[in-house]
């Protein structure tokens, strides 16, 4: 039982959970969250891939990739949330 | 080798380039439109005459352009092409005059003449296609260009007819694409070569070759209105008279018949086709179509419908002549390509005149129309008699050669078929003539005197073509007559 095995499976599981949420969740906010879970799962995979048994230092390239991925994901999340807010405002107007 | 190698391209461009100009002209610029139309038609006629002379001198025109690796866009001007181009050039000019008169005050003239031009360009392209691939290109262009003409009136009936027309012809086009691809895959070329390109394939894989033949003839049979693919033709009669005239005489049905010629003579080669055993069934199919069309024509009261069924029957003479696989029958078939065009266009223009001038659209209304419109009806009568096969008119010449060819090929039943067909022709044409000339007009019927008369642009074209019918038959042996030219072609196709 090495950490890469444990966290690798954890990452795959988180990705899978996110996938279920992205496909099954109906609430708009929850779907955004589910997608974010997927991205964390993918992050785990890369971080785990970079891990080397100490004292060896890990591979820095996947770390950089995950950081990039995190920033990209927050951008996408912000756009999706802006869409949700705008849509909800318009729909609330319709109901009034 | 030649002083103007691009001549075939120029001929194609006369009508192809006229088309966008005509589209762009404003609706009211009628004079300019007519000038462009007639001017281009005139130019084309002159160019075709020049080309014919050159080809007769043995000059070979061959323009190629690679579209896909090994696959060429190819224009060629062989004698067979010239035959068809000459027909289309002459009839374009005449029909244009007629259309200008016919549509004088109608709507959408810019569109009409634009597509009309495009339609002629497609016909010329079909004639000059040097391979089946190029043929397919123009064959589809023809479909697209004629569809707006068929539904020109823009009402529900026209649209229904247009839909049926489109379904038949585009499905046919798709099958032709399949056939062309099949030919390309099997033979590695789609070129039209006298003697055919499939001899090896037939030897190795006769099944595939037979299937290919069925696919190609089936596809072309749609436009050639072979039974059972003929149903669109009588329905397409809702089109304006000049369109029907063009459709029946040069453009659509002829494109199909011409394609069958190319396929039998220059894709398979007549000997190969015979060896493959596919010509006899084709002849039978043609025979069935000839009889079926004539029989159906008898019961039609609508004049244009009767003429349409007559076309179904008459065009199959061409297929019959090809399928009989005898040089003499081939002469008849090729001559009929021209003769039928002249005869049928005369009749359609005359029918259009009856409708325009007298409001007569049905056979039962034709009583006494001969006296009301003597010129038009004289032309109609001449064409009808020629159709029946009265010597020395054009129709007789074709039938004579077909019959001779049938005998030469040892197919005596052809004579019986031709006699029967002529009899049927007489049965549906003679009553029309009888009504027109020998019955009095109904007092308040459509033929009543005092109605507005038609202009010269409507009256002159049918008379002109009727004269051509007379000339083509009477001077059949003169140099440059269709018949003479036909013999020239047959010598090439039969590689004598």
């Amino acid at each position: 039982m090495t950490p890469d095995l444990i966290y690798g499976l954890c990452g795959v599981a988180v990705f899978g959970i996110g996938l279920v949420g992205a496909l099954c969740a109906q609430d708009r906010l929850r779907r955004v969250l589910a997608l974010k879970l997927c991205s964390v799962g993918a992050g785990f995979l890369l971080v785990v891939g970079a891990w080397r048994t100490p004292p060896a230092t890990p591979d820095p390239v996947p770390h950089a990739l995950v950081i990039t991925g995190i920033v990209v994901m927050v951008s996408a999340t912000a756009v999706a949330l802006a869409l949700i807010r705008r849509l909800q405002s318009l729909e609330a107007d319709d109901e009034r | 080798m030649t002083d103007a190698p691009l001549l075939p391209l120029f001929i194609l461009l006369t009508s192809l380039l006229a088309s966008p100009v005509l589209f762009a002209l404003p609706e009211r610029a009628a004079r300019l439109r007519t000038a462009i139309n007639l001017g281009m038609a005139g130019v084309k006629l002159a160019l075709v005459a020049w080309l014919s002379l050159k080809v007769a001198q043995g000059v070979i025109y061959d323009l190629r352009f690679e579209v896909l690796p090994g696959l060429e866009f190819k224009l060629q001007a062989d004698p067979l092409a010239i035959l068809f181009i000459a027909l289309s050039a002459v009839l374009w000019l005449i029909t244009t005059v007629y259309s200008v008169g016919y549509l004088e005050h109608g709507p959408h003239r810019a569109r009409f003449f634009g597509f009309f031009s495009l339609c002629v360009a497609a016909t010329v392209g079909i004639a000059m296609s040097g391979n089946l691939f190029t043929f397919l290109l123009f064959y589809e262009l023809l479909t697209l260009a004629t569809y707006p003409l068929v539904i020109h009136r823009g009402n529900a009936e026209a649209l229904r007819a247009g839909r049926i027309y489109l379904i038949y012809t585009l499905a046919g086009g798709l099958v032709l694409l399949l056939g062309t691809l099949g030919l390309w895959v099997l033979a590695g070329t789609t070129d039209f070569v006298p003697g055919g390109v499939l001899a090896d394939v037939v030897a190795q894989n006769p099944r595939a070759a037979q299937a290919l033949f069925v696919v190609l003839i089936g596809a072309l049979g749609v436009k050639a209105a072979l039974v059972p693919f003929h149903a669109w033709l009588p329905i397409a009669m809702v089109a304006p008279a000049p369109v029907s005239a063009l459709l029946h005489a040069v453009a659509v049905v002829k494109a199909g018949a011409f394609g069958i010629m190319r396929v039998v003579y220059e894709v398979f080669g007549i000997e190969t086709a015979q060896a493959l055993g596919v010509t006899a069934p084709l002849a039978m199919l043609a025979a069935v179509t000839i009889l079926y069309g004539s029989l159906r024509a008898i019961t039609q009261d609508d004049i244009k419908k009767r003429l349409a069924y007559s076309t179904v029957s008459q065009v199959s003479y061409i297929t019959l002549g090809v399928a009989l696989a005898s040089p003499i029958a081939a002469v008849g078939a090729l001559a009929h390509l021209i003769h039928q065009g002249l005869m049928k266009i005369t009749m359609f223009m005359a029918a259009g005149n009856l409708a325009e001038g007298l409001g007569v659209k049905r056979v039962s209304q034709m009583d006494g129309v001969g006296r009301a419109m003597p010129g038009t009806m004289l032309a109609f009568t001449l064409a009808a008699l020629a159709m029946i096969g009265l010597p020395p008119l054009a129709g007789f010449v074709s039938k004579w050669y077909l019959a001779q060819g049938g005998l030469a090929a040892g197919q005596a039943w052809v004579i019986a078929l031709l006699l029967g067909s002529s009899l049927l022709n007489a049965i549906y044409f003679l009553p029309m003539l009888h009504r027109a000339w020998f019955r009095d007009a109904a007092p308040e019927g459509a033929g009543a005197p005092g109605r507005p008369r038609i202009g010269w642009m409507l009256a002159a074209p049918p008379v002109t073509t009727a004269v051509l019918v007379l000339v083509a038959g009477g001077f059949a042996n003169a140099p440059f007559s269709p018949l003479e030219w036909t013999r020239f072609i047959v010598a090439i196709e039969y590689q004598e």
């Binding site: 795959v12 955004v32 785990f44 950089a64 927050v74 | -």
Partner: protein, 325 residues
């Protein structure tokens, strides 16, 4: 000897998975977001455990922090417009059409199978397989920085990083384009105690952010983490109403958004001379250029993240919500 650590690992992994499930299945959306933020922090902890402190910092600051703030802001807005702001719990904000349980179940089974497949594939992958380790070690002396992750981000794969900043720019342009007119929801207001705390925290946060940026060249940290921390400053300013975006500030904001991208791209372009290609910094200036880029990118990231939190473009306040569509 590693036993306690393995137990820790297993427990952490299980907690992460459990939190993910809980976040998706809890009915209350507020609870969902809180669970998610905890999930993010625990993931960051796991990444620290996996010797990835840079990633952990970024995830904690951006993945959990900023994303959590964005979600909360959106929830606040949604509850305002749907009139459920005063209520205790919010069970969803989207009008739901019931989905047959069979469909959901089928989807879940489908995803489960995919996950199982991925797990099998993962187990089959070579552990601690080939990587960029040797290449990076070999190239580090020529990178101009000492911290490998920064070297990768701003030198070896600087092109990716430039495009990542472009993604941020695209996001803010898109958000300004999407949310238009005047906001109909009041910005969430912090309580008074919190306001005081926030004012105290501001200077400290600025210092931390700048420090993170600075150490990025040698130790974990860098533009993104620093930017995120500075963005937190912006968030606090917005929340405490210490700063209210004005229409007249739009020009400056636009400039700040594009600053990082523009400088980054210009530097990348301009170094291409004397036989060098784009992004190839001359070695003697590499550190300076990288710091310049990092600084500008940090400003852009901070302002952009704050703007993403704020949402719409500040426009003149006229009553009745103008929508020029």
């Amino acid at each position: 000897m590693t036993d306690p650590l393995v137990i820790f690992d297993v427990a952490l992994a299980l907690a992460i998975v459990a939190l993910a499930v809980a976040a998706l299945s809890v009915r209350d959306l507020f609870a969902m977001i809180v669970l998610f933020v905890v999930f993010g922090l625990l993931s960051a902890l796991a990444w620290v455990r996996l010797s990835a402190p840079d990633v952990a910092l970024a995830e904690a600051a951006i993945g959990a922090g900023v994303t959590g703030a964005l979600l909360l802001k959106t929830l606040h807005h949604l509850r305002y417009v749907s009139g459920t702001l005063g209520q205790q719990a919010a069970y969803g904000v989207t009008p739901l059409t019931p989905v047959p349980i069979g469909v959901t179940l089928a989807n879940a089974i489908f995803c489960g199978l995919i996950t199982l497949g991925l797990a099998v594939a993962y187990l089959g992958a070579p552990a601690a397989g080939p990587g960029f380790d040797a290449l990076v070690a070999e190239a580090m002396p020529r990178s101009g920085v000492d911290h490998p992750v920064t070297g990768v981000l701003l030198n070896f794969r600087a092109y990716d990083t430039l495009m990542e900043v472009v993604v941020l720019l695209a996001a803010v342009v898109a958000v300004w384009q999407i949310e238009r007119g005047v906001s109909d929801a009041p910005a969430p207001v912090l309580g008074e105690v919190w306001q005081g705390f926030a004012r105290l925290a501001l200077p400290a946060t600025v210092v931390v952010g700048t420090y993170l940026l600075w150490v990025g060249a040698e130790a974990p940290g860098g533009a993104f983490q620093g930017g995120a921390v500075l963005a937190a400053v912006g968030l606090l300013l917005l929340l405490t109403r210490a700063y209210v975006p004005q229409p007249t500030h739009r020009g400056i904001a636009r400039g700040a958004f594009v600053l990082g991208t523009g400088v980054f791209a210009l530097v990348a372009l301009l170094v291409a001379s004397g036989g060098r290609v784009a992004f190839e910094y001359p070695l003697e200036h590499a550190k300076t250029l990288i710091l310049l880029i990092e600084g500008m990118v940090t400003i852009s990231i901070a302002v952009t993240l704050a703007a993403l939190f704020h949402g719409r473009e500040p426009v003149a306040q006229t009553k009745g919500g103008r929508d020029d569509t």
